[in-house]
C-alpha cells in the first residue's frame, strides 16, 4: 500500500509542481484567447452584450478583409513597426557598443539612458504632442527661429507616422541598449584579445566576433521590440488618435477604436485575433532565421 502511495505521489508530483504555472497560463492566456475567438465568431457590441449573442461564423473576418480602413491600418502598422524596429535596433546597437568601450562615466550614462523607457507611454505621448504641436510646439518654434517654414508634424498624413516613429524610438531604444549591453558583457574580453593579437581590426572584431556571439540577444531583442511595436497604441492614441485620415491608425489602434470607441466588440476581437496571428508569424520567422544561421555557423565551424 505504501509503495503504491509513493508511486502515485511520484507520478503526480511533476504535475503538481507545474499546476500553478499552468493555472496562470490557462487563466490569463488560454482562456482569454479562446474567449477572444468565441467573441470574434459572434455579433456582439456593447449595446447587445446583455442580450443573446448571434453566431455569425467568419463574417467579422470577412468584413475586415473588405474594410478599406483596416487595409490602411495594416499599411500604417507596417511603416510604424518597420521604422521603429529598424531605428530602435540600429540606434540601440550603436549606443550599446559605444557605451561598452572603456569610457569614464559609461555606467552613469547607461543608467540615464534607461529613463525614457521608465516613463509611461502616455506621458511620452503627451510630451511629444506638445513638442510637435503644429502651432505652438517647440520644434516649429526652433524652425521659425532659424528662418525655416513650420512643419505639420502631426497633421500632415505623409509625416505624422514618422513623428510617431521618432517618439517610439525615443521611448523604446533604451531597452535595446540595456539588452544588448547585457549581451556584450557575456562576451569574454579574451576573445577580442586573441583576435587583436591575430591582427583583427576593431571593425573586423565587431563583424566576426561581436555580431555572431550577440546573435541570440539580437534575435530575442528583435522579437520583443517587434511585438511591442505591433501592439503599441497608447502613445499613438494620445498623440494623434489615429488621425489625420487614418494616416496614423495602426492595426492595434484600429482594434481599440472598434472595440472601445464604437463598442463593436466582435469586430475588435477579430482584429485582435489577426494581430496575434501576425505576432506569431513574426516570432516564428525570427526564430527560424536564428536557427538557420546557427546551422550555417555550425557548418562553417
Amino acid at each position: 500500500m505504501k509503495v503504491t502511495l509513493e508511486a502515485k505521489t511520484g507520478r503526480i508530483q511533476p504535475y503538481l509542481l507545474l499546476a500553478p504555472a499552468l493555472a496562470i497560463l490557462i487563466g490569463f492566456l488560454l482562456f482569454p484567447l479562446m474567449w477572444n475567438i468565441y467573441l470574434s465568431l459572434h455579433d456582439v457590441s456593447l449595446t447587445t452584450i446583455l442580450g443573446d449573442w448571434k453566431y455569425v461564423g467568419l463574417k467579422n473576418f470577412d468584413n475586415l478583409i473588405h474594410d478599406q480602413d483596416f487595409h490602411t491600418s495594416l499599411k500604417v502598422s507596417l511603416i510604424f513597426v518597420g521604422g521603429s524596429v529598424a531605428l530602435q535596433f540600429f540606434v540601440g546597437m550603436v549606443l550599446a557598443v559605444v557605451l561598452n568601450q572603456q569610457i569614464s562615466g559609461s555606467n552613469t550614462i547607461r543608467a540615464l539612458f534607461i529613463i525614457p523607457w521608465t516613463v509611461s507611454a502616455v506621458i511620452t505621448g503627451f510630451s511629444f504632442k506638445f513638442i510637435f504641436s503644429d502651432s505652438f510646439g517647440i520644434m516649429n518654434y526652433g524652425l521659425a527661429q532659424m528662418g525655416l517654414e513650420p512643419v505639420a508634424w502631426l497633421s500632415d498624413p505623409g509625416i505624422v507616422v514618422w513623428t510617431l516613429v521618432f517618439a517610439n524610438v525615443w521611448h523604446g531604444t533604451p531597452f535595446t541598449v540595456i539588452f544588448l549591453t547585457a549581451g556584450l558583457f557575456s562576451i569574454s574580453p579574451v576573445v577580442y584579445e586573441a583576435a587583436r593579437i591575430d591582427g583583427a581590426t576593431k571593425i573586423k572584431s565587431f563583424l566576426y566576433i561581436t555580431l555572431p556571439l550577440l546573435r541570440p540577444f539580437i534575435i530575442i531583442n528583435l522579437i520583443l521590440i517587434t511585438m511591442w511595436s505591433v501592439n503599441f497604441f497608447d502613445l499613438i492614441l494620445v498623440m494623434t488618435n489615429g488621425g489625420p485620415l487614418f494616416s496614423s491608425t495602426t492595426s492595434s489602434l484600429f482594434m481599440y477604436r472598434q472595440a472601445f470607441e464604437f463598442g463593436l466588440l466582435s469586430k475588435g476581437a477579430a482584429v485582435g485575433f489577426l494581430l496575434i496571428a501576425m505576432n506569431l508569424v513574426l516570432a516564428y520567422t525570427y526564430i527560424k532565421l536564428l536557427r538557420s544561421q546557427d546551422k550555417t555557423v555550425e557548418i562553417r565551424q
Binding site: T9, Q13, T47, I49, D134, S155, G243, L245, F262
Partner: protein, 467 residues
C-alpha cells in the same frame, strides 16, 4: 521526451530513495499544512466567503450610493455635497454615503459601458446627450418614465431639454444643465487688426477678418481664428449645417430589418455648403487645431477669435468675471452665410441617469431629484457658468442672480432658441467618425466637400444597416 522518461524511471526504480522519502514526508505532513494555508487563502480572496467582507458588509440602514461622473470634479463635489445633506435630512434613520468616481470625458463613456456590461452595480451616472440612445438601447439605463410621471416636474423643463432624455418614448435621463457654442473674441486683438466685430457675423466677413488678424498677429505666437481639427470637429460643423436647414440623419422607410429607420442626410446641399465654408477657412490660412483644450487656449490668448462652448468662461477666474466684458467680447451666434440669416448652435450638457444595475434605485432617484432641485442646482450653475434647462432657474427667482454673476448670461440664454442637439442613437459615435473623416479629407485637400460627404454618408448608411 527522453529526459522525462529518464526522470520517471529514476523515481520508479528507487534510484533516488532519499528524495522519495522527502516527497512522501512532504505529502504526509507539509502538504496538509499547505492545503490548509491554500484553503485559508481561497476563503480570504473569495468575496462571498471572506471574513473581511463580512466585517465590511453594511448594516441594513447604511447605504452607499455609487456614481460615475465626468470631469471637472469641482462641480460634482459641490452638487453631491449639497444634495447628500438634503438626502440625509430626509432619512435621519439611515447612514447614507456617496462614493463617486470622476473620470476624464474621453474615459467616462467607456468606463460606464464596461462597468454596466460587467453588471457592476452603479447607482448614478452622468450621461452625455449623445450617449443616451446607445445606453438605453443596450438596456443599461433604468426606465424613469413612471417615476417622472409621479414626480410631476417635467413641464418645468424646456421641451428640447426634456425630450433629450427620452428614447423610444421612455424617459432614461434628466438633462441637468446645458451649454451652447458661441463666438468669443479678444477686443484688443481685433482693434489692433482694425477688425470690426460685427464683420465676424457673416462667412465672408469672418474669412476677411481672419486674414487681417493673421497679418497683425504674425510672429507673436497668436493665431487669428480657431478651427477645430480634433475628434469633435463635426460638432463645430453641425451649426453651419443646421442654420441652412440641413440635418445629420432623418427617418426613412424601407430599412431591410427595421422598416423605418435613420438614414444619413448630412451629405445634402446644405451639408456641402457648410463644409465648403470650413474649406474656405483653411484656404484663408486658418489652421485646423488637432489639440483641443476646451477654451483654455483662448483664455491663454493664443487665439484672437474662437468658437467655443459657454464653459469657456470657467477658464477665467471668477474674480475676473465682473470686468471680463472689457477685454473679451462675445457674439451670440455662429457666422451665417449672409447678413440677416438665422444662425444655429449646438447644445450639449449633462444628463443624470440611473443604471439598470443599480441596487439602490429608489434612493438614487431621490438623490437625482434633489440634485436637480433649483435651490441645489442653481448655485453650481452660477459658479461654473452652465446654462439651465429648467424654466424656474432660467426665468424664475434665480435668473437675476445668474445674470448678475455669469458674463454674457442673457446673450447665452438667448442662444438656447438657436440650439440643436445631436441624434441620440446607438450608431452615432460611428457616424460622427465618418463625418470627422470627411472633414479631415477636406482640410487636407484630399477630396472635394461633396465627394467627401457622399463617401462618408455611404459608410454611415452601412453602419445604420442600409446595405
Amino acid at each position: 521526451m527522453k529526459k522525462a522518461g529518464h526522470i520517471r524511471r529514476d523515481f520508479s526504480e528507487g534510484n533516488i530513495k532519499f528524495s522519495k522519502n522527502m516527497v512522501h514526508e512532504f505529502f504526509c505532513k507539509d502538504f496538509k499544512l499547505i492545503l490548509i494555508l491554500a484553503l485559508v487563502a481561497v476563503v480570504l480572496i473569495t468575496p462571498s466567503l471572506s471574513p473581511l467582507r463580512v466585517i465590511q458588509a453594511q448594516q441594513p440602514n447604511q447605504v452607499t450610493i455609487t456614481a460615475i461622473v465626468a470631469e471637472p470634479k469641482e462641480r460634482w463635489d459641490a452638487l453631491f455635497a449639497d444634495a447628500l445633506a438634503k438626502l440625509r435630512e430626509n432619512h435621519p434613520d439611515m447612514t447614507i454615503n456617496i462614493d463617486y468616481s470622476v473620470l476624464p470625458y474621453a474615459d467616462t463613456r467607456k468606463q460606464i459601458l464596461t462597468a454596466m456590461a460587467g453588471k457592476t452595480p452603479i447607482d448614478l451616472i452622468s450621461v452625455d446627450q449623445i450617449w443616451l440612445g446607445e445606453f438605453a438601447e443596450g438596456g443599461f439605463l433604468s426606465d424613469l418614465t413612471e417615476l417622472t410621471n409621479s414626480w410631476n416636474r417635467s413641464s418645468e423643463w424646456y421641451k428640447t431639454n426634456w425630450d433629450g432624455g427620452i428614447y423610444n418614448g421612455k424617459v432614461y435621463g434628466i438633462w441637468a444643465w446645458t451649454d451652447v457654442r458661441t463666438m468669443w473674441y479678444w477686443k484688443d486683438l481685433l482693434n489692433q487688426s482694425s477688425v470690426n466685430p460685427e464683420s465676424l457675423k457673416t462667412w465672408a466677413g469672418y474669412l476677411e477678418a481672419a486674414k487681417k488678424i493673421e497679418n497683425s498677429t504674425k510672429g507673436k505666437g497668436i493665431e487669428a481664428m480657431h478651427l477645430v481639427g480634433a475628434s469633435h470637429s463635426p460638432d463645430m460643423w453641425y451649426p453651419y449645417l443646421w442654420m441652412q436647414g440641413g440635418e445629420i440623419v432623418k427617418q426613412k422607410s424601407g430599412h431591410p430589418e427595421k422598416g423605418t429607420y435613420w438614414f444619413p442626410s448630412y451629405n445634402s446641399t446644405e451639408g456641402v455648403k457648410a463644409l465648403e465654408f470650413l474649406r474656405d477657412q483653411v484656404n484663408a490660412g486658418i489652421k485646423p487645431q488637432i489639440n483641443h483644450f476646451w477654451g483654455q487656449e483662448f483664455a491663454d490668448k493664443k487665439f484672437a477669435v474662437m468658437l467655443e462652448g459657454s464653459w469657456l468662461l470657467g477658464h477665467f477666474n471668477n474674480t475676473e468675471w465682473d470686468t471680463l466684458d472689457k477685454n473679451v467680447g462675445m457674439i451670440p451666434m455662429f457666422p451665417v452665410p449672409k447678413a440677416g440669416d438665422t444662425s444655429a448652435t449646438m447644445m450639449g450638457g449633462w444628463m443624470l441617469g440611473i443604471p439598470s444595475t443599480s441596487s439602490n434605485k429608489a434612493l438614487s432617484w431621490e438623490l437625482l431629484t434633489i440634485m436637480v432641485q433649483p435651490d441645489v442646482l442653481a448655485p453650481m450653475l452660477e459658479k461654473y457658468a452652465y446654462l439651465p434647462t429648467q424654466k424656474p432657474i432660467a426665468e424664475g427667482q434665480y435668473s437675476g442672480q445668474l445674470a448678475n454673476t455669469i458674463p454674457y448670461y442673457k446673450e447665452l440664454i438667448s442662444m438656447l432658441s438657436l440650439g440643436h442637439s445631436r441624434p441620440s442613437i446607438a450608431e452615432y459615435p460611428q457616424i460622427a467618425d465618418n463625418i470627422r473623416q470627411a472633414i479631415d479629407e477636406v482640410y487636407l485637400g484630399a477630396k472635394e466637400p461633396k465627394q467627401a460627404l457622399d463617401d462618408a454618408a455611404k459608410k454611415s448608411a452601412e453602419v445604420l444597416g442600409w446595405s
